[in-house]
Amino acid sequence: MPKPSDLHFFIDPHRCIGCQSCVQACSECDTHRGQSMIHLEYVDRAESVQTVPVVCMHCHQPTCAEVGPADAIKRTSDGVVQSARKPRCIACGNCAVACPFGVPEVYADRQIMMKCDMCYDRSSVGRKPMCATVCPSQALFFGTFEEIARLRPTSVPVNEFQFGRQTISTEVYMMVPRTAAGRAPVVDVTAALADAPRPRTIPLRLIPADARQPAAAADAADPYADVEV
């Protein structure tokens, strides 16, 4: 049974609060128990605590399947790129190297690649993927275009990504601010890599010395000295 064609996955990275709920929910699944197929990545750990959830984007021309020598990665008719077929996967790791989004992971101990398949057991019967079910800030959303348009009036879904000369269109949508999407309805990933954060001036308000709370003196009497323990 294919995934209903009106339901789509939307990632809204700037809503991510880094709570790891998606990671925990994903790793509880029976089909890959203990391993999370969703990666919660820091955008730039040195500069910011901002995280971004990385699920499989389910490309229309999946590079992982193109580079696989063992014919193990297949896409079903609903556009979901399935995880590696166990009897075929030889754990060569080509897909992990080639994926522009860095989604597939090779598990050397069991000689297989496993990746997000949009919880195909759930989404194929119209249920939300587990990560979208638990996400408290709705950075991960699974629903219709109408629902997302109502919930995110200032953002628009974009599913075109530019990696150098390669344009990738995906089944999963990324929510982009309406102003940015109006300029170019494509997320230019390569250009974004060169983007340095704008220098900002953060004003620090100085508190006058006499307004500060007096610190407790080291030789002050212990206020709990009389308390019986």
Binding site: H60, Q61, P62, D71, I73, K74, T76, S77
Partner: protein
């Protein structure tokens, strides 16, 4: 231009160069990305497997018939005299060689006019079996193999195939070996 694009959702994968399917190299048909096409190929491979397997079974039947014919033809060895019937008491056994001098066989007299003969090579690992007509068996000492003295079929132990039977003929009180019958079951 119509905005509603209709396409077969099973056939949505495009090669990275964007060229249509008929301009792609042949290996793309053998290694499709879409699961439905992969299923189709698997079905075709399955049919190929079925046809080739049944062909192999047919060839196997011919092979069995040919080896059977060859064995029958090869077993048509000239008859050889073993002994006079009076040389062997009832319940006695006699060793002889047939068809060649390196093929040890054993002749047993189970009744007044009841002679049987088998190859002496155990069908397990070719040890020499010891006839025991009194108990109606042939015993292999190497691994405790046991054969029925009347039919040569294995009764116990590791051997699974019966002993090759030597076909006998009695002419004028003389016993002749006329052929060898190798059996698999």
């Amino acid at each position: 231009m119509s905005t509603t694009q209709t396409f077969d959702r099973d056939d949505i994968s495009q090669a990275p160069d964007g060229q249509p399917a008929d301009r792609q190299p042949a290996w793309r048909q053998d290694f499709p990305i879409d699961a439905a096409q992969d299923q189709y190929l698997v079905r075709r491979d399955f049919m190929k497997f079925m046809v080739l397997t049944s062909l192999a079974f047919t060839a196997g039947q011919f092979w069995i018939a040919a080896t059977d014919w060859w064995r029958r033809r090869g077993s048509a060895t000239p008859p050889a005299r073993i002994a006079a019937a009076t040389d062997l008491p009832v319940g006695g056994a006699l060793l002889f060689h047939y068809p060649g001098p390196s093929d040890p066989c054993v002749l047993m007299r189970l009744g007044e006019s009841d002679f049987v003969a088998f190859s002496q090579k155990c069908t397990h690992l070719s040890c020499a079996v010891i006839p025991d007509p009194g108990h109606g068996v042939l015993r292999c000492p190497c691994h405790e193999g046991l054969f029925d003295a009347r039919s040569g079929r294995p009764l116990a132990g590791p051997p699974r195939r019966p002993l090759p039977e030597i076909q006998l003929e009695t002419r004028g009180g003389q016993i002749y070996a006329t052929g060898t019958m190798t059996r698999t079951v």
